[in-house]
Each structure stands twice: as structure tokens, then as C-alpha cells.
Amino acid sequence: MTKETLVPMLGIVTEVRVDTPDVKTFRVNSVEGGKCFEHMPGQCAMLSIPGVGEAMFSITSSPTNQEFMEFSIKKCGCLTGWLHQMDEGQMITVRGPYGNAFPVEEDLKGQDLLFIAGGIGLAPLRSVINYVRAKRENYGKVRIVYGARSKEDLVDYPEIVNEWCREAGIDVFLTIDQPQEGWEGHVGFVPSYVTELGFDPQGRVLVCGPPVMIRFTTQALMEMGFEKNQIYTTMELRMKCGVGKCGRCNIGDQYVCKDGPVFRFDKLGELPAEY
């Protein structure tokens, strides 16, 4: 944890990986080497380039990774544009970890887990998936449904194919929105693929992706008999301070940066739909 609220520590980008045409994954180490701080899956960190801006990003690496942290970042604004132009060796500022985490050591423990992600929504889930893989004995079946616009837009495709798919006890279901040459997998949107696959309404579900996808996916899950309290998602609202003080990211009386970003669906239903 960064010692001071608002005062970041310095980090160095030690590897830049091009994931998709608009997503890059950055490996970040502290100036002395090693990780900037410890975190739990689902937590976030504020990254900044002084003079450009500061923003919250999910930490995509698993806490079980002892060497570095990773952030998968989609290019969509001024700061992310700048980050995308970075080379290795670039210093940035990092503070965190912020927010709550998926309850990997509590509610999720011992459960079968269903991960459903769309596009860059895989970023926060990747942390959990790799955490679960590292502590495989603590969890039941793991199934991953992941979709993107096209094959090129699937984040972490090599890791998915070369590691996740090959691991026993993990089923990976990939889909893309439109048919594409060289793609022999499933074609279609994530919610309909989820319906198609059909899952037993047991265990826990972790959903992350664009708001529309989340909405239809949860609908599909409920139709299969899942309860709201089995489903978790993460929210993304404008955050500035990261510590529940600047007054921006609240949904009702909950601060996304402090009480979130991970919300169980039944809890979310009790809050104003201001997100």
C-alpha cells in the first residue's frame, strides 16, 4: 500500500506487450525492482504521467506473481494515449492498491467458478483466474467464457491458448462477434454464447465487460437459475482520489473506489442506478 494518500510511488515500465490493436499490457516494477505493493485480485491502482493525468486501472497480474505487476490498458483518452506511446524504461507514478477485491479467500473459496468477460473486461478477471490457477486446490471447476469483437481483439490470447486452455480443470470458451477468416471457434455475442453453453446454477460467477454485455449476461444467468448473490462484477466510474474522499465515484452511499469496484449483484440492486 502506498504510504500516503494521494502521494504516489514511482514505477518503471519494464515490458510493453501489444495485446490487441488498442490494448497494451504494461509490466511495472518499483524503482528498486520487485513489486510496488501487494494487492488482491480485483483491486486497482492509480497510474499517472505527471502533466498528462492520473487514472485508475485494474491490476491484471495475479498477487501470486512475486516479480511484477501488470496492467492491460485500452487506448481511449489522453492519458491512455500517452501510456500507449511509452517505451520500456519509462517511469510512471503508481499508487494503490485501491478498492475491494473479489472474495477469493472467502465467498469464492471451494466454489466452482464461472468467469465471463468481454473485451478489455478480461483485465480484472485475469488477476483472479491466475490467482485461482496458483491455488488450484482451493477451488472447484473453472470455466471461462471470453469474447471480443475479433480474434485480434482478444486480450492475452497467447496466454489463454497456451496456458489456460491446456490446464486440466479449466474449460475455456472463446467467441468473437463476427465471422473471421482463420477463426474456427464460436461466433456470436457473449450473452448468447453463455445461454448456448448453459451452466448449472451453482458456484459463483464473475462477470466483467461493457455495461450492455453485463446486463444481458446477468439476464441470461438469472434465466438459468443463478441467484443475484452468486454473481460478482466490477464497476468503472470516474475516480480521482482512490480513497473515498474526492466525492466523485459514489453510487448512492457506496464509493466505487473504496467499497467497490467489486460488487455482488444483489448489493448493486439496492443502489441507485447511477452508473
Binding site: 502533466g51 498528462v52 517511469m91 470516474r238 482520489c241 474526492c246 459514489n250 452511499d253 447511477e274
Partner: protein
């Protein structure tokens, strides 16, 4: 209980070796400014134009500096406040507001910029001998006769009664030349204040239902549309509010480096929650609702029922369009309390 002659007040203030922030005039407005002998104190002014919160949480403050060289970044933190000072003449409502700010900034993780200032200050409260027509502090559990400060002063004609409640308060008061006084006199004053307060138009509002329990009901009230219609989306209510503490963190390129500073922000501003792909409070209705829901519902829901409105009445005076929290309470509440 101690007392001193009112005419000695300025002398006492001048005698304090620390900087003193007190209500003084600034071009027709009253602010908590650095008091210098000879300045005109405005202890008569209720709802000062600018609030004591600025002493603890200034409109802008530098947080840190960055130097960029090639791919390297150098970070220098701004020094935290380290000078003791006295914040003088704080009304009960504004004092309560500081407690609200404490809840925000001193809760985990502590905001060290605020904490340092808070720690170095000794606050002298001032009882309201004449609450005004815009006052409605008691609704929020504030006693205008008893500010929750380190030292409290009660004006009583040509003298002030005073009492210290904390170590900091005692330390300050011990340095003052005061006389022993009778507790009863103050009790009478307090009673008098209570009576005056009870006669005020907004003295007793009905706050039933302003709690976490009724969050969704209040949120979904159809009244918001009408209430917010005339709102300009300016920040005059937020910036003159003693509890509003929303802030923004910004970088300024000085040409020699980057200064990261914090400045007040307002949830009434259209760009407050704006992100690359839109805002989650897109119209003034949502923004207006956010402000009042926060003060009357969200904050108490998180803070054991403590409202983040203190009934100081400033928004009643400052809103260019005469929209204010009392109108909201009345529209959303369940009528006047008998």
C-alpha cells in the same frame, strides 16, 4: 468557567503568538483571514461569506512537484503544515462542519495534508447569541449555544464567558488574562439562545426518512425534477458550504516541472464525473440530487446518522436562484415537525 471584558478581545488576540485566523472583512465580504491588530473583526456575522473550512482545507493546495527528464520522474512532496495556529470565532454549525470534514479526511486512509493542519490548530468557538432567520442547525444536532471546539466563547454584552474543553484549549486559555465566572450566567445565555432559535422560520424541519433506509425512496422522488429545474450548475452553494469537500487533483505545467495540486470541485459541475465515454450524472437533475442526497442521506448512512448539512444557512443566502436545502427538505420530507 472564565470571563473577560469584551473590549479586551482584540488585545487578547493580538497577544497570541501563533497566527490567528478570525472572521475579518475583505472588500465587503467576511472571511476567516489572518488576523492582524487593527483589523475589523466581524464576530457579528452569521454565515460568513467564506467558511472556516478554508483554513483546514484551502480552495487549492499544492500536493507535490514532479520533474521530468527523459524517461525519469523526480517527485518532491509538498511539506505538510507545521505551524501552530488559532482558528478563532467558529460558530457551532461550522464547528460541526469541521467534524464532518474530520470524518472524511481523518478516516482511513488519513489525508495527511488535512490532518497536519487539523493537528496544528486550536479552535475557538463562538456561541451564537443571536441566531438568524436562515439558521436551522439544531435540526442536525447542532447546539448554537455550544460549539464543539477547543475553547468556547459566549458573548454577553460587554463581556465574554469562556471555557476550554481540550488540552489545546486549556493551553490557549491559560495564556489569557481572564476572571473566574459563574456557570449559571452561561446557562441562562444558553437558554436565551435556545428560545431565540425556536422562533426562527426553519428552526424545526422534519428529517424523518432522511437516512440510509429510505435511500431509494428519496432517490426516486419525482420532486427532484422541479427542485433542480432552476439550478444553474454553479458552485456557489458548494463553495460557500462549510462541509462540501469534493475535490479535484490537477497537474499544472509550470514550464519547469509539474505541480500537482488539489482544488475544490463541485458535484454541481457538469464535468464533475465526466469520463472519456460520458458522465454517470448526465443532467443537472442527477447532479443536484447527488448534492442533497449526499448531505442528507448518503453521508448519514455511512456515518452513524451524522448529516453533512449543519444548517448554517449559507446556501439560502448564496444561491443566485434561491434554491436551497430547506426547500429540498420540505419537498422531500413529510411536512413540518410540530
Amino acid at each position: 468557567m472564565r470571563k473577560f471584558a469584551a473590549e479586551k478581545l482584540e488585545q487578547l488576540l493580538s497577544g497570541i503568538s501563533m497566527p490567528v485566523y478570525a472572521p475579518v472583512e475583505d472588500g465587503g465580504t467576511v472571511i476567516y483571514g489572518r488576523y492582524e491588530p487593527g483589523m475589523r473583526l466581524r464576530l457579528d456575522k452569521l454565515g460568513t461569506d467564506r467558511t472556516p473550512k478554508e483554513v483546514l482545507f484551502p480552495q487549492w493546495e499544492s500536493l507535490m512537484h514532479f520533474k521530468m527528464e527523459g524517461k525519469k520522474i523526480q517527485l518532491t512532496e509538498e511539506e505538510r503544515a507545521n505551524e501552530d495556529y488559532v482558528l478563532f470565532g467558529v460558530r457551532a454549525c461550522d464547528m460541526q462542519a469541521i467534524r464532518v470534514l474530520d470524518r472524511v479526511f481523518l478516516s482511513d486512509p488519513v489525508d495527511t495534508y488535512y490532518a497536519a493542519r487539523r493537528e496544528h490548530g486550536t479552535i475557538v468557538g463562538l456561541a451564537c447569541d443571536a441566531p438568524g432567520k436562515n439558521c436551522f442547525c439544531k435540526n442536525f444536532g447542532v447546539d448554537p449555544a455550544q460549539p464543539d471546539a477547543d475553547v468556547v466563547l459566549w458573548p454577553a454584552g460587554d463581556e465574554y464567558f469562556c471555557e476550554a474543553y481540550t488540552d489545546k484549549g486549556h493551553a490557549l486559555l491559560n495564556g489569557w488574562d481572564t476572571l473566574e465566572a459563574d456557570e449559571c450566567a452561561v446557562t441562562a445565555i444558553k437558554e436565551e439562545i435556545g428560545k431565540k432559535y425556536d422562533a426562527l422560520p426553519f428552526a424545526h424541519l422534519n428529517l424523518n426518512g432522511f437516512d440510509g433506509e429510505h435511500l431509494m425512496e428519496k432517490f426516486e422522488s419525482p420532486q427532484w425534477k422541479k427542485l433542480s429545474m432552476a439550478c444553474l450548475g454553479c458552485g456557489s452553494c458548494t463553495f460557500s458550504c462549510p462541509t462540501c469537500q469534493c475535490y479535484d487533483i490537477r497537474d499544472y505545467d509550470t514550464g519547469n516541472g509539474i505541480q500537482r495540486y488539489r482544488c475544490w470541485d463541485s458535484c454541481m459541475y457538469s464535468d464533475f464525473t465526466l469520463m472519456a465515454h460520458g458522465a454517470n450524472r448526465p443532467t443537472q437533475l442527477e447532479r443536484y440530487r447527488q448534492r442533497f442526497m449526499h448531505k442528507l442521506v448518503y453521508f448519514p448512512s455511512r456515518n452513524e446518522g451524522m448529516y453533512s448539512c449543519v444548517g448554517c444557512g449559507r446556501c439560502i443566502e448564496k444561491c443566485p436562484m434561491n434554491l436551497h436545502i430547506v426547500k429540498v427538505i420540505r419537498a422531500l420530507g413529510e411536512g413540518e415537525k410540530e
